[in-house]
Symmetry: C2
Subunit: 649 residues, 2 copies
């Protein structure tokens, strides 16, 4: 309970100096020596019922009526039992005595007590509790505490859309749900003593990341609002704090009152922002003309901006996105069947919208942006943006435990240049720093620059595996496994079996006799093996948790740069994972007794895990353009049940 | 013990794929199924004495000679007992059998083992131990670990001085002492197998903060070097890594060898730099023409840059700095006597050097910069620099404990604008962020903008106090205490006693009758009380730990801005603290029986703590220019015994 006290002094004005410094401690310690008439040797104290006091150092005498010896460090600690109903409704007086206990003077203190508390939901139960002792700090973990805050990057508007935080006013009641409620609770007389006022303030640094609105009239709210009401509405939720206004007076309502504030997050944690925000409320005391008021009490709350979180393949799908183009009818059909069979919603992005871009991993945000669906972009300055910045190169693992360390939200997987590379492409620093700054899915950097397109989803993916201790399997492209398969076919007399349906048909024997292709795949295998080992180490996986997929690559020369790898036939690891249903690029491998040997191998490898394989023909419309099913689709998934703030940091 | 293994395969080349990924784990796990001839059903293993192997999953049979059933996930885990003396001096062979245990083929692996370890002083005992398991991470606290690194901001050169880290070459052996030694230890054959090489690399981000040199010839070193040797010398310590070169090959010496590297810190922790640096060493494997080599083993070390640390008044002084100007003879004399009496070295900065700037808190760095004496500057961009950025506004408390939390290096004290201020001056963001980023002396922000000069040292300082539980006393300027003193004088009949010696003489009565002065001091008192309370809270002090000094202020109007405060008479709290000797601005207070009443009061307040007061006349040469003894002097002190890395974070 925070009591603000105000003294109007009838005799000795310097007594009031005693108030300023002690109000924060919910009591007023008035340094008695400062106020004593000269040659005072003793003092006594009297007060009205609602006032409590204590003397330091404690006097010998027991009765508070008999004069107490006055020393230079005598301190009178005053507090009050409850807030005042009227200004100056309580009283305390100090009487000073000389050597012979002769009365030298009397100081009377007229007291007004006000209760002030700025509150947030520090225990995250959805209720803004009253004056939580932890409200001013933040702690990670199951035994942690501290309020949280969302970045308001969705758009309540459904036309002329832009992220809500880009506008400095609230235009829809529904937008309030994207903000954290903060309550100012006050209790006291109808108005504050003359000249006193309440002010809310934030630091310059925090102002880059947060905005505060307040409600004018805490009336009933309905969840839709017509645009004719727009202006009236904006008036109802005035902007209090922003990067333009770091400090502003807020009304004191009088009596027992609550006022709601709405805190809006403007940016995610980043290299230069740890995510923590402090908001202060101060009670200002008037001093005199041309002099600034001084705060005599400050209450503080702390909030942390929720990090940007990715959803791994093992989470329940909600809807699937694909593009429709002039030439992907076959692919679209395959996807339609798979999604229908799996029982999820298919969301087709038509040509007028995708403008011919079929790569759903880079889905145009105009479509998705909307209520409760936002986005974040980072802009590279003075650094080269490459194909490694596309989102086929940004994946996330299912939850893992590594040498006892838990990652209940998994770990982000990105592809970068080789640590030893002196040249070559890389994911931009600004994006890498953003990902690391989110903290809750600590990224693992793989080496993907050896690929022409350069995406990690070209050689790895994760599938659910209820039988494994970690409930997941890592699927890795593996040229060695491919060659083993082809040698097996040759050995069983299928050397003349043909790959591909088109003019580029080639036999198993021809593939196995191609020395250059073999040397290229040795190189690819060594690149994948390097990444495979990093994944084992950083995700705590055994060889048993990894399945090697029979996929061959070939190296193509780029103008004036090193040779880089592309899939030799449809890259089966670049799949879409919908629960137990896998949408796998149809490989068009050599036929044995009418069945594709590669499909057969995939099924035998994966169906053991209780997974169902559906092969989707993306040959002409995606594979030929250096992408596959995964690059050409996107999935919105059920968020994690696990609460990010429960992470141990 | 890290063993690098290389296999030259006599039969089946894909066996060598097994090596790449497993070398890091100090053993080579070769995925047997990858190398098996087709239709193999069993296998057996043989090897030379220095080779050890293990089979996963473990076979039923006990003898390693009888054929073992081959499954698709059979893994052969190979390690070696010690490094090789010659290339391929060890051997392992796998024999494959068919259904009827008929021999189908044999794979022979010729092995070379190399021991590689990049080492730092991770336990901080001054010795670079061999392959400390903690060398790759960093942990705060007494049970912590991790190597440390200095910012090389001093100057070995004594003419044409500039901080050493501003030049990219080592010009003096003594400079090596400002860097952290890192040792590359290798053990193996005379040379690496054909095409393999060692490379050292850092990330783009770390390269902004660190530079690595190596020694060419680890010969004997002498601590001085003549400039004729300059070029030869630079050749002896070539630059390995920098922001221009992120990755470079380093020599493999052969046999059992050590090579010294020198790691130089370039910047202190800051808003965008947490102080941690990683340096990697990779063994690269050749793949083929036009293909980049791939790392098959990477060793990593981590270092933390030592923070910038301030030294409080309670630390032992080493030398005192003052300026000599045309008009400060009296002051200089006073200081000379004090420092001589205290037994420390006085270092006078003469006019040709101080160019008329007498404010030692802003001492020209040309003088101090030198061996083991460096500096750091921060440059403000797009923000206004004010008087609050001067160093009289940057102080540090002695060690304190606050609600159980220890600050063994004390806490930095800075003065800023009021939290509620909408205008007014402030310490620049770039400086505040730098101070907070050092972490080990978490700053406390006070309100100092109410002062014309705006420095915290105008109203507070710390003195040692062996009797107090916290071994310190906070001295606060206190107008109330001043008025109490003057009222006492008046009461004892000294109302006509005069302050000051010059034409501005004024009596005690006149001061007490000045209503405006009283109202100004009420305001000043409320500003100081606010700060006093913040200091109590943030440093865990009681009222007993604070002594209020009888000092009056007056408000002066600045052109077009608010009135701000300056000391009415020499500001006695702006003192120099040399052990138990205090150099206090001579206040020229009212004389009572020939003795200055203010000096008498100061002595009675401070001598109780075992401190000795010396009053120094700075009236004309400093006080009149709005500064005092502390602003006009500087002290180099003994560093803390406490090691910053032992802090609990």
């Amino acid at each position: 309970l925070t009591l603000g006290l105000f003294g109007k002094i009838s005799t000795h004005k310097t007594l009031r100096k005693g108030l300023g410094i002690c109000i924060i401690t919910a009591c007023l310690c008035c340094l008695v020596f400062r106020t004593a008439p000269l040659s005072s040797r003793f003092f006594s104290v009297k007060c009205t019922s609602s006032v409590q006091y204590r003397i330091n150092p404690p006097p010998q005498e027991t009765s508070h009526l008999s004069p107490i010896p006055l020393s230079d460090n005598s301190v009178l600690v005053i507090s009050m039992k409850h807030a005042s109903q009227y200004e100056n409704d309580s009283k305390l007086s100090v009487q000073y005595y000389g050597e012979k206990k002769d009365v030298l003077g009397r100081a009377v203190l007229h007291l007004t007590a006000v209760e002030i508390s700025l509150d947030v939901d520090a225990d995250r139960d959805g209720i803004v509790e009253h004056n939580n002792p932890d409200k001013g700090s933040w702690k990670w973990g199951p035994d942690g505490h501290g309020a949280i805050l969302l970045v308001n990057c969705d758009s309540e508007r459904t036309y002329l859309k832009k992220p809500d935080h880009e506008q400095t006013s609230i235009t829809r009641v529904s937008d309030l749900k994207d903000m954290s409620v903060m309550v100012l609770r006050t209790k006291g007389p109808a108005k504050l003593p003359e000249g006193y006022k309440l002010t809310m303030h934030i630091s310059q640094g925090d102002a880059e990341s947060v905005r505060v609105f307040r409600t004018r009239s805490p009336g009933v709210m309905n969840n839709s609002i017509s645009y004719t009401l727009f202006n009236a509405f904006v008036r109802d939720f005035p902007l209090v704090l922003s990067s333009e206004v770091l400090s502003q007076e807020v009304p004191y309502l009088g009596g027992e009152a609550e006022m709601n504030f709405y805190v809006e997050g403007l940016r995610f944690p980043d290299r230069d922002f740890d995510g923590l925000i402090s908001i202060n409320l101060s009670l200002l005391e008037p001093i005199g003309e041309a002099l600034p008021e001084t705060p005599i009490f400050t209450d503080k709350v702390m909030l942390r901006v929720a990090p940007w979180i990715m959803t791994p393949n093992t989470l329940q799908p909600l809807e699937v996105f694909v593009c429709s183009t002039s030439d992907n009818y076959t692919f679209l059909n395959g996807m339609r069947n798979l999604v229908a069979k799996s029982g999820y919603k298919l969301n087709i992005c038509h040509e007028y919208m995708n403008r011919g871009d079929r790569w759903m991993q880079n889905f145009p945000y105009e479509e998705l942006l909307g209520p409760n669906f936002g986005y974040v972009t980072r802009t590279a300055e003075n650094e080269e943006v490459s194909s490694l910045d596309s989102f086929g190169n940004l994946e996330v693992s299912p939850p893992v435990t590594v040498n006892g360390k838990k990652y209940p939200l998994g770990r982000i997987i990105i592809g970068v240049a080789f640590p030893t590379a002196t040249k070559g492409r890389n994911m931009t620093k600004v994006v890498q720093e953003f990902l690391f700054a989110q903290k809750v899915q600590e990224p693992v950097a793989l080496f993907s620059d050896w690929l022409l397109v350069g995406h990690v989803d070209e050689f790895m993916t994760f599938v659910p595996a209820s039988d494994r201790k970690c409930y997941l399997c890592l699927l890795c492209a593996c040229p060695d496994a491919g060659y083993k398969l082809f040698r097996g076919l040759q050995n069983d007399g299928h050397g003349q079996a043909k790959m591909f349906d088109d003019e580029e048909q080639i036999t198993v024997d021809e593939i196995l006799n191609d020395e250059i292709l073999q040397s290229h795949n040795n190189y690819v295998q060594s690149c994948i093996d390097w990444n495979r080992d990093v994944l084992k180490r950083e995700l705590g996986l055994d060889d048993d948790d990894i399945i090697d997929m029979p996929i061959l690559f070939k190296l193509v020369e780029e103008m004036g740069s090193e040779s880089r790898a592309v899939a030799y036939y449809p890259d089966m690891v670049n799949m879409i994972v919908l629960g137990k249903n896998l949408g796998i690029p149809k490989p068009f491998g050599p036929k044995v007794n009418g069945r594709c040997a590669l499909e057969a191998e995939m099924c035998s490898l994966l169906e053991g895990l209780g997974l169902r394989c559906t092969f989707i023909d993306d040959f002409a419309s995606y594979h030929k353009l250096l992408g596959e099913v995964h690059c050409g689709s996107n999935v919105r998934r059920q968020p994690f049940d696990f609460k990010w703030w429960n992470l141990e940091m």
